[in-house]
């Protein structure tokens, strides 16, 4: 953490979190591995969801990792961008739908 908060090399050290809390870390990575296995959704579909979430969470490590993963699985750049728009739409929708809360309050107090 000398000059940057984020360092791409740190992504490779992700597994090290287990060293300071072995049981929880191991359980987490087992769970993580299972989640991304082919299931009712294909591994490709899961990678695309992960990419969209990586953007809404704005995690540079996940964006890096899941962009590469999507490429490896044959996802096209158009599909990747559309997935990000889905994330953005939900994220902005979640902001805007709270506008109704504001409207309700205004109507009640000053209607």
């Amino acid at each position: 953490m000398d000059n940057n908060y984020y360092d791409p090399k740190d992504l490779k050290k992700f597994g090290d979190i287990t060293e300071w809390s072995e049981e929880l870390g191991t359980k987490y990575f087992d769970y993580y591995g299972k989640v991304f296995e082919e299931g009712a959704l294909t591994a490709r579909e899961k990678a695309l969801i992960a990419l969209a979430v990586a953007h809404t969470e704005q995690c540079p490590y996940c964006i890096d990792a899941y962009t590469v993963d999507c490429l490896k699985r044959g996802v096209t750049k158009e599909q990747m961008m559309e997935a990000i728009h889905v994330g953005a739409a939900i994220k902005s929708g979640a902001t805007l739908v709270h506008g109704v809360m504001m409207m309700n309050k205004v109507n009640k107090l000053d209607g």
């Binding site: 082919e38 294909t42 591994a43 490709r44 490429l71 490896k72 699985r73 044959g74 096209t76 158009e78």
Partner: protein, 354 residues
């Protein structure tokens, strides 16, 4: 990938046209400084150094570097401007070997092997040897390139040739970016024509396999899931059927190396290959069951070593003095490009190996 260049490295007189320069790059930099381990040391850890052949199963013959395409990743540096072509005399020497070999598979490659003027003669003669699996690596577009090639599907069928063809993606955009404008449409048409004569259909004995390799500086995804995705997309969109998909890793040599360096991806790519190193893949790297023969009859451990000018480390170096037993005693010549064969599920001309 960067914009497709329309000439080979040789024609462009690029320094990477020279094998020595490529080998120098692969041995220096991050490998010389010790930042990344050398392939030799990596395989020594599992007692595989020197790397030795197992039983010979595949004879791969390169009929020439001429090709109607100039794909951006091509490890052969093939193209219309390459004039290296196997002569009928060398083919005759190959036929002698084919008749007597213990190998069960014959694998013809190029360039576009069909562009060799003696291609059909050679296939006819070689198919008489009764080899179990007779592969021709066809780039598909050649079938549509000129009238004289239109009947290739019938010709392949007549000689029970196993067709293996490249298809980097099931969409036009990604395919054309790697292989050139219009390649996707022509490849689709060619695949439909192969299907029409019976190739690739579920119960057909006429084998049609596709080869997938990534369109940029990343490793291929899992072969089984890629095969599912390819099958679904090609069938839904174009009614195309094929048997298996081989996922192949791009090795950092020739035009792909040129691309890696130009796009500043070389070091990261080598890191990802080394990180993905899978010791179990070493058992089945293709040089252990394959011999590669160049257009001029020299012998190599594999097609990649051929392009790097690394002739077999044996007294027997040319097809005219071929001796399978002596050759099987050789040490395989390796360098850092070999990491491409051992990354992840491993990679060979037949796809994953681990």
């Amino acid at each position: 990938m960067t914009k497709l260049k329309l000439q080979s490295l040789h024609k462009r007189e690029s320094e990477l046209a020279y094998a020595e320069r490529q080998l120098e790059i692969l041995s220096n930099g991050i490998f010389k400084s010790g930042e990344l381990p050398k392939f030799k040391d990596k395989i020594a850890e599992i007692g595989q150094s020197p790397l030795k052949p197992k039983k010979l199963e595949i004879l791969q013959i390169n009929l020439g570097y001429m090709c109607n395409q100039v794909c951006s990743h091509c490890h052969v540096d093939a193209g219309p401007d390459r004039k290296e072509i196997m002569t009928r005399e060398t083919m005759k020497q190959c036929l002698e070997v084919i008749k007597n070999t213990g190998a069960h598979t014959l694998d013809l490659t190029g360039g576009a092997p069909e562009m060799n003027p003696d291609f059909r003669w050679f296939v006819e003669e070689a198919s008489k040897a009764g080899i179990e699996d007779f592969i021709v690596r066809s780039n598909l577009t050649i079938i549509r390139a000129n009238k004289k090639y239109h009947d290739l599907p019938e010709f392949f069928k007549k000689h029970n040739v196993h067709v293996v063809s490249s298809m980097p993606h099931w969409t036009k955009g990604k395919t054309d970016k790697q292989r050139g404008d219009g390649v996707f449409d022509k490849s689709i048409k060619a695949l439909q024509e192969l299907n029409a004569v019976g190739y690739g259909l579920p119960d057909s004995r006429l084998r049609l396999d596709l080869v997938y390799n990534p369109s940029g500086a990343f490793l291929p995804g899992d072969q089984t899931s890629m095969e599912k995705d390819f099958k679904k997309a090609l069938q839904e969109d174009f009614g195309i059927r094929f048997h298996n998909l081989f996922a192949i890793t791009n090795l950092p040599i020739s035009r792909f190396l040129d691309y890696l360096i130009a796009s500043e991806n070389y070091e990261d790519y080598m890191y990802s290959l080394v990180e993905a190193y899978n010791p179990t893949a070493v058992e089945n790297v293709m040089c252990r069951n394959t011999l590669s023969i160049s257009w001029d009859g020299w012998l190599y451990d594999c097609d990649f070593n051929q392009m790097l000018g690394l002739k077999v480390d044996s007294k027997i170096k040319h097809i005219k003095e071929y001796n399978e037993d002596l050759l099987n005693n050789r040490n395989i010549i390796i360098s850092q490009h070999c990491y491409g064969c051992t990354a992840g599920a491993g990679s060979s001309c037949q796809g994953s190996v681990a």
